[in-house]
């Protein structure tokens, strides 16, 4: 295991706070939308630059640490920009830039009400997400995790209709319950180990605990982070939350919130329990069962959805469990593949949600059965949709292939053929629920579409760019940000050598 050097740096703190700092500015610029959107974009770009500036040191094995204050005796509210944290922060903050542009196009094109609240909540969500990424210990993680829950609520109920309010209630019920369970899990961990710091390889080393207490603790953790990670049967808030505006679904319900959940799963598996303990107590099998079942069931449920966003939501549930599966395999390739899937699924799924939003703003259509022939009027959008869905089905050279390849290799490494079967089956199901959409879009005749065209450039540009990124990272996974190297290196630290 590589020994990490740490150095003190305020940059992680700034990276977390920058979007929180613009919230008052956003609220004060209520009357002039252009200025208000400028703050969002400025914060997004600055945040991304701050995160990127931490990358070179992280690649050399140096971690930036910053302790804000003590929030419980001997536990600090502390940030640590380790490789895994930077990996997640890069994705979330990078995609926030695209989402911000897209959001502007979306809310204006759709004439949404309460746009100020929308952009302000969005900024708070991003602060919380980066906080989760950089959390150095479990309590810091919980603080940001709960902030994320509350900040997302105004976005889920944004439309303020019955459906949205019901979705908001369901969302709070699931996430707040998960929050209190996580607190219990953290308390138990603290009483066993006396520390809550995330440490590669786990913090339970040398403790002799009974099988039952470890299993219960693990189940508590799993319930705590599993809600946001959409592990069945805790997933049902996610399809309901599709009542939110599409950019929210795109960034939060495909990237930030749900990825915070799987990020949490990997933190728990790799940095709290550690692979040794996972296999000694057979915890990986529990995880494997849940992940495998979720992948298959979610894909099957996706097949029957006619609402495009709901289909994407179930697809998200399935793909999140790819990542969980990667963690459960406990083999180096599997772990790498799982982590890398956080990035690949993000670029692909955000493309798909962006497309769904563009279709909604332009044609006011939400159902797949109404999409006949739209490929002709929205060629760029639907081309991007095709790329995204092919990637999720695992077709090279799109980046989804790479993560799936490594997951498959990981299944073989771990000698778990059943996992491989699940992956193959899920690939087919993915094709099964995505390709009919593409077929309708390009090969069916549509009616009454003559007067429509592409959505505004503010929306189409992000769509095309994220689709392009999916291909780019599929061919050059280390392009720009060394995502793959980061994933590999995290695995190295957790597993101790590939």
């Amino acid at each position: 295991m590589e020994i990490f050097q740490t150095y003190n740096s305020v940059i992680p703190f700034y990276a977390v706070m920058i979007s929180l700092a613009v919230v008052p500015l956003i609220i004060l610029s209520d009357k002039s939308p252009n200025l208000r959107e400028f703050w969002t974009i400025a914060a997004a770009v600055l945040k991304f630059i701050l995160v990127v500036s931490l990358l070179p040191a992280a690649l050399e094995g140096k971690e930036a640490v910053y302790s804000i204050l003590e929030i419980s005796p001997r536990i600090e509210l502390a940030l640590k920009a380790d490789q895994f944290g930077i990996f997640f922060a890069l994705i979330a903050s990078g995609l926030w830039i695209f989402t911000s542009f897209y959001s502007i196009g979306y809310v204006r094109g759709n004439k949404e009400k309460k746009q100020t609240r929308y952009f302000a909540s969005f900024a708070v969500c991003l602060s919380a997400t980066i906080g989760i990424a950089f959390a150095a210990n479990l309590l810091t993680f919980i603080v940001f995790y709960e902030v994320l829950t509350i900040a997302t609520y105004p976005l889920v109920i944004h439309k303020e209709n019955k459906e949205a309010i019901a979705a908001g209630r369901k969302y709070l019920l699931y996430t707040l319950s998960a929050g209190v369970i996580l607190i219990a899990a953290a308390g138990l961990t603290y009483s066993y180990t006396g520390t809550l710091d995330f440490t590669a390889g786990g913090i339970f080393n040398g403790l002799n605990l009974s099988q039952n207490s470890v299993t219960i603790l693990f189940m508590l953790f799993l319930a705590g982070v599993g809600v946001k990670a959409g592990i069945m049967p805790l997933h049902s808030w996610l399809p309901a939350a599709m009542a939110a505006p599409t950019p929210v679904s795109a960034l939060l319900h495909a990237v930030a919130v749900v990825k915070s959940g799987v990020f949490g799963v990997i933190r728990v598996v790799g940095f709290v329990f550690g692979p040794d303990m996972m296999s000694t107590y057979g915890l990986n099998n529990i995880l494997l069962v849940f992940a495998g079942a979720t992948i298959i069931l979610a894909s099957l449920l996706a097949l029957k959805q006619d609402n495009l966003k709901k289909r994407l939501a179930y697809s998200t549930v399935g793909h999140l469990s790819y990542i969980v599966l990667g963690a459960a395999l406990l083999s180096p390739s599997g772990f790498t593949g799982g982590i890398f899937h956080i990035a690949t699924h993000a670029t692909m799924k955000i493309t798909l949600f962006f497309c769904a939003g563009a279709i909604y703003v332009n044609l006011h259509k939400e159902n797949i059965s109404e999409l006949n022939g739209i490929g002709k009027v929205m060629p760029w959008t639907m081309a991007a949709f095709t790329i995204g869905s092919m990637g999720l089905a695992g077709i090279p050279p799109i980046n989804g292939f790479i993560s799936k390849w490594f997951l498959g290799a990981g299944a073989l490494q771990a000698d778990m053929n059943i996992a491989l079967v699940i992956l193959v089956l899920s690939g087919l199901l993915n094709a099964g629920y995505f390709f009919p959409i593409i077929h309708r879009a390009f090969f069916c005749e549509g009616k009454g579409l003559e007067k429509y065209g592409e959505a505004s450039a503010l929306m189409v540009a992000p769509i095309v760019i994220t689709a392009f990124l999916s291909i780019l990272f599929g061919i050059f996974p280390d392009m720009f940000f060394n995502f793959f190297e980061l994933a590999l290196s995290v695995t190295n630290n957790v597993m101790g050598g590939l």
């Binding site: 204050l69 003590e70 929030i71 419980s72 005796p73 509210l77 919980i142 603080v143 709960e146 902030v147 829950t149 509350i150 109920i157 303020e160 309010i165 908001g168 209630r169 709070l172 019920l173 707040l176 319950s177 929050g179 209190v180 369970i181 607190i183 219990a184 308390g187 138990l188 603290y190 009483s191």
Partner: protein
């Protein structure tokens, strides 16, 4: 010099102004409020100074009239009592600033008497906190209770009935307590707490001591409204005028909780009530019952003040649970929650008062998003306090729960752990019910025409708004800086924990 007399000065400031106010009222009515606010302000400043003094120079033992105990009465100003005194007086100060406009409109013409009784209440509460003598404690319990009955009785039409009920139940409680200390005196020959703490271990195998413990716990439990002895509370809080309920709800029951802590931890001793007897377990079990009962009842209420009253029963349960756990984290949780809940409940009751002043009611079923438009700051303060009650980090309420969670884990009380966690969710249900209405429910449409009704901002006056906001900002500060406080709570820890 002055510091050595602090334990006596603080209650005396209130007693003096309670006596002065009626006289001043005869002379010039407009001077009544300034005198009242001045005495609370000076008491608050003195108690902050006193807390800092005690932390740096150690406990002050004050002998009244120079008579050494056990003959004389001793006042003990130690970290715990000075801390609670500081909390009580600060919250009272904010509530009384808020009272500036609302008392004249609630109680036309009766302000003089009202403020005099408020001062008497604060005399009683401060006395309960600082005294080191069991019988003196009884006297102060009665002073605070009697003034409490009066403060409640001046409220709405049904208030006198609620106050009468409280009077009957409260008197029974006080009598139980008196009986309890009678037995103790009979056995030990002293009423001084420190003396008693030294003598009790020698005689505590006697059943008389057990009986006195039960009587004292039940007696104070009634004052504290610990489940199932809470019957007097909901009506009293609901029908009392705003200032009374904002004073009594956050600090009245807290001081009783403090008295219970003082007696159990410092007089009877941890060993005695938690190890030799199952008293601690029983208190914790009843507290948990109260947490669940209070939360469930709060969910069923349509009136905000009544909902807050039931919520208080639940929150007192948290403090009771912390006491009953009888371990360091439980103690920290209880003391911290005493502070946090004082801030949260004061803030929420002030919000209810603001709504009653402006909208004329605080009926939850009638709330809609015009409330947010009319009273944006009041509702923002409400939201912060509500999130803190639910226990979301980094607000204050999260941290008292966190320490209680650690406490339940330390003692392996899994059911209590589940109770704390479930009650968080129940809190979420009844607070989000209001938040959802206030932010999302569009007002019922007028039947005629489609004209858009313009709703203008109609916020309460700043003398009412600022205390509300200070309390809600305080919740954020207390949450983030909780370790500073917890470090001090370690110094309050009784021997044996």
């Amino acid at each position: 010099m002055i510091a050595n007399h602090l334990p006596a000065i603080i209650p005396l400031v209130f007693l003096a102004s309670a006596l002065l106010i009626p006289l001043i009222g005869i002379w010039k009515k407009s001077f009544v409020y300034p005198v009242a606010i001045l005495s609370v302000l000076s008491a608050a400043c003195l108690s902050v100074y006193g807390f800092i003094y005690v932390l740096s120079y150690g406990t002050i033992n004050y002998y009244f009239g120079g008579w050494a105990p056990p003959i004389g009465i001793e006042y003990v100003y130690d970290p715990l009592s000075s801390f609670v005194a500081m909390v009580i007086n600060t919250v009272s100060l904010l509530v009384l600033i808020h009272a500036f406009r609302i008392v004249p409109s609630d109680l036309q013409g009766r302000e003089t008497a009202y403020y005099s009784v408020v001062m008497l209440l604060l005399t009683g509460l401060n006395g309960m906190i600082i005294t080191g003598d069991l019988f003196n404690l009884y006297v102060f319990i009665e002073i605070s209770s009697l003034s409490g009955y009066a403060l409640i009785a001046v409220g709405e039409k049904r208030a006198p009935f609620a106050a009468f009920r409280y009077l009957i139940i409260g008197t029974i409680g006080a009598s139980f307590y008196l009986l309890g200390i009678g037995y103790l005196y009979f056995m030990s020959g002293t009423l001084n707490m420190n003396d008693l703490a030294a003598i009790l271990p020698l005689i505590n195998d006697s059943p008389t001591i057990l009986v006195s413990l039960i009587l004292i716990v039940v007696g104070i439990g009634i004052k504290m409204a610990i489940f199932p002895m809470h019957g007097w509370l909901p009506d009293s809080y609901t029908y009392a005028p705003t200032t009374s309920s904002s004073l009594i709800a956050p600090i009245g029951t807290k001081v009783a909780a403090y008295a219970l802590m003082r007696l159990l931890f410092f007089v009877f001793g941890v060993e005695f009530f938690s190890v030799e007897l199952p008293a601690a377990d029983l208190i914790a079990a009843f507290a948990c019952g109260g947490i669940i009962f209070g939360s469930v009842m709060a969910m069923a209420q349509k009136e905000m003040k009544r909902m807050l009253a039931y919520s208080s029963i639940a929150q007192i349960g948290y403090i009771g649970l912390g006491i009953g756990l009888a371990n360091p984290f439980g103690f920290i949780g209880a003391v911290l929650h005493l502070l946090n809940h004082a801030f949260m409940k004061a803030c929420l009751f002030l919000v209810a008062g603001n709504l009653r002043t402006k909208a004329g009611h605080s009926n939850i079923t009638l709330m809609d998003d015009s409330f947010r438009k009319k009273y944006p700051w009041t509702m923002a303060a409400f939201t912060v306090a509500a999130l803190s009650m639910v226990g979301l980090p980094p607000l204050a309420g999260f941290f008292s729960k966190w320490y209680l969670v650690l406490g339940t884990i330390e003692s392996s009380r899994w059911i209590y752990l589940a109770v704390i966690l479930i009650s968080s969710l129940l809190n979420a249900v009844y607070f989000f019910r209001i938040i959802e209405k206030v932010y999302l429910k569009s007002p019922a449409k007028e039947k005629q025409g489609d004209e858009v009704v313009v709703i203008n901002r109609d916020e309460v006056v700043s003398s009412m708004l600022i205390p509300t906001l200070i309390l809600s900002i305080g919740l954020i500060v207390l949450g983030i800086l909780n370790v500073v406080i917890v470090d001090q709570i370690y110094k309050m820890m009784p021997a044996g924990l």
